[in-house]
C-alpha cells in the first residue's frame, strides 16, 4: 500500500516531484492510516481511485458508511472523473466486525476466479467496527482487533501468492486500514491498540492537522509516513482547498531524515518485538 500512496502523492502533487516514497525492500507495504475520520476517508478513497485508474488494480473497499456520492475532494482533485473509472473498485458495506471478519475470511474463495482477486484491500474506520464488538467494560478489546488485522495480513499474503502465479505480473496484494483514536479513551489504551495494529501493518501514515482556515477555505495537514523495520520516516504536506481538491508536496525533498544508525537500532529493537 505504501507504494500506492507514493503514486497518490506524486499524482496529486503541486509542482514537480523528484523523489518518491521509499519503502525498504524487505518491509511489507501494508499501511495504517491515522487521523481525523473525514480526511482519512478521503485519502483512502483517493488511494482506491488512483489504484484502480492509474495502476489498473482491483480494489476492495470495506466501510460501514455507504458513499452517497463521490467525496467532495475527489470531484475537485480529479475533474471529469466518471463513475465508470471506478469499475475496478468494489465497495462492500458491512455493519459489524463479525460481518467484516466473515467477508475477509471468505476472500480465499476468489482464488479460482483469477479476474476477481483484489490487489488492494481497504478497511475504512476499523475503530468503528471494533467499538461495536464490545459487550461490556471488561471485554478484552485487543484480541478482536488483533484477529481482524492478522486475518487481513494473512489474506493479503495468500492473495499475493495467487497474484504471483498470474501472467500479468501483478504480484502483491496490499492492505490499507484507517483508524481513529478514541476521544474518551486513555492515551495508554490508544497506544496499546496502535501497538497491536503495528504488529500486522508495518507502514504508518499519520495525518496531523496543522492549519484550518475557514475563511480562506484552506485546511493543511502534515503527512508522516513511517516504516517500522527498518525505521524510516518520510514527510509530506497535504492541503485541502476550498474547492475540495487535495494536493501534496514533499517536505525536505520527500524523505525526511532517515533515522541515524544508533537511534535506528533503538527504534528497530523497540518495534521489532524485543521484549
Amino acid at each position: 500500500m505504501a507504494d500506492v500512496l507514493g503514486v497518490v502523492f506524486r499524482r496529486f502533487a503541486t509542482g514537480t516531484v523528484t523523489s518518491d516514497v521509499i519503502v525498504p525492500p524487505h518491509a511489507e507495504g501494508n499501511t495504517l492510516v491515522l487521523g481525523d475520520v473525514n480526511i482519512s476517508r478521503s485519502v483512502l478513497f483517493l488511494a482506491a481511485v488512483t489504484a484502480a485508474t492509474d495502476l489498473g488494480l482491483k480494489v476492495l473497499f470495506f466501510t460501514q458508511t455507504p458513499f452517497q456520492s463521490l467525496p467532495v475532494s475527489l470531484r475537485a482533485s480529479i475533474p471529469g472523473l466518471k463513475l465508470e473509472s471506478l469499475k475496478n473498485v468494489k465497495f462492500v458495506y458491512v455493519k459489524t466486525l463479525k460481518e467484516l471478519v466473515e467477508d475477509i475470511a471468505s476472500l480465499h474463495e476468489l482464488a479460482s476466479q483469477a479476474a476477481s482477486v483484489p490487489s488492494l484491500i481497504i478497511v475504512d474506520s476499523l475503530d468503528h467496527f471494533s467499538h461495536g464488538s464490545r459487550v461490556g467494560p471488561l471485554q478484552d478489546d485487543l484480541s478482536p482487533v488483533a484477529h481482524v488485522a492478522a486475518l487481513l495480513h494473512d489474506t493479503a499474503a495468500f492473495l499475493s501468492q495467487i497474484l504471483q502465479n498470474r501472467a500479468d505480473g501483478q504480484s502483491l496484494c496490499r492492505i490499507m486500514v484507517s483508524f481513529q483514536s478514541e476521544c474518551e479513551g486513555s492515551r495508554d489504551s490508544e497506544e496499546l491498540l496502535l501497538s497491536v495494529l503495528d504488529r500486522y501493518l508495518q507502514v504508518r501514515c499519520t495525518l496531523e492537522e496543522v492549519k484550518r482556515d475557514e475563511e480562506a477555505g484552506l485546511n493543511e495537514w502534515q503527512v508522516y509516513l513511517s516504516v517500522m523495520c527498518p525505521s524510516l520516516v518520510q514527510q509530506w504536506h497535504m492541503v485541502l482547498r476550498a474547492g475540495g481538491a487535495l494536493e501534496f508536496r514533499p517536505v525536505f525533498g520527500g524523505e525526511q531524515q532517515i533515522v541515524d544508525q544508533p537511534e535506528k537500532s533503538k527504534q528497530e529493537n523497540k518495534r521489532c518485538g524485543d521484549s
Binding site: K98, A105, E109, A111, H147, L151, D154, A157, C272, D274
Partner: protein, 178 residues
C-alpha cells in the same frame, strides 16, 4: 523422546543452576555464543535463528539436543515446555482447502481449538492477548510456539477441509470446546 528430554530440561533451565552446572556449559558447545549475543540482538531475530537451528538439527539427527532445549527455554520462557507437551500430544494440525488457503489449528489442554495463521503471529487464546499483546512480555503463546516447532520438525497433522469450512475456521467460528 520428549519425556526423557523434558526431565533433563526441567533440571537445567533455572538460571542459578545453569551457572553451577559445569556439564551444562560444556554441553552448550556452539550454542553458548547465542546466549552471549542475546543481550545485543533483537529477541525476535534470535528466536527465528533458534528455530532454524532446531529445524536443521532435527532433520539431521531426529532429536533435539539439550543445549537447544535450554536455548528454547531461555528465549521463550515457560511456554517452551508447554509447547513441547502439545507437540508430544500431536496437537497441531495444518488444515488446507481446495483454494490453497492454509491455517493451523492447535488443540489446547482445555479442549479448545485455537486457529493460528501461517503468515503472522496471532492466537485467540487469553495468554496471547495478555502476555503478548497487552504486556509484551512474551514473543508468543504456547500454541504459536507449538505451531512453529511442529513446522520446524515436520510434526503437523494434515487435514483437508472445504473452502466454506476454511472460511468458518479463519473467521474464528470453530473454536468451541470439543
Amino acid at each position: 523422546m520428549f519425556n526423557k528430554l523434558r526431565k533433563a530440561f526441567s533440571v537445567c533451565y533455572a538460571p542459578h543452576k545453569l551457572a553451577k552446572k559445569k556439564n551444562i556449559r560444556r554441553r552448550c558447545g556452539k550454542h553458548e555464543h547465542v546466549f552471549r549475543c542475546i543481550m545485543g540482538s533483537s529477541l525476535l531475530s534470535v528466536a527465528e535463528q533458534l528455530l532454524k537451528d532446531l529445524q536443521r538439527t532435527y532433520s539431521e539427527t531426529n532429536q533435539i539436543p539439550d543445549d537447544l532445549l535450554i536455548a528454547l527455554r531461555f528465549v521463550f520462557g515457560q511456554c517452551a515446555l508447554q509447547a513441547l507437551d502439545l507437540l508430544d500430544q500431536r496437537s497441531v494440525t495444518c488444515v488446507s482447502s481446495p483454494s490453497g488457503r492454509k491455517a493451523f489449528q492447535v488443540l489446547g489442554g482445555s479442549g479448545r481449538l485455537y486457529t493460528c495463521f501461517t503468515s503472522c503471529h496471532y492466537c485467540p487464546c487469553p495468554a496471547f492477548s495478555f502476555s503478548v499483546l497487552r504486556r509484551n512480555e512474551s514473543l508468543m503463546c504456547k500454541h504459536l510456539l507449538a505451531v512453529c516447532l511442529s513446522q520446524a520438525m515436520g510434526l503437523c497433522q494434515q487435514e483437508q477441509v472445504s473452502d466454506q469450512q476454511m472460511t468458518h475456521i479463519l473467521s474464528g467460528q470453530t473454536e468451541a470446546s470439543i
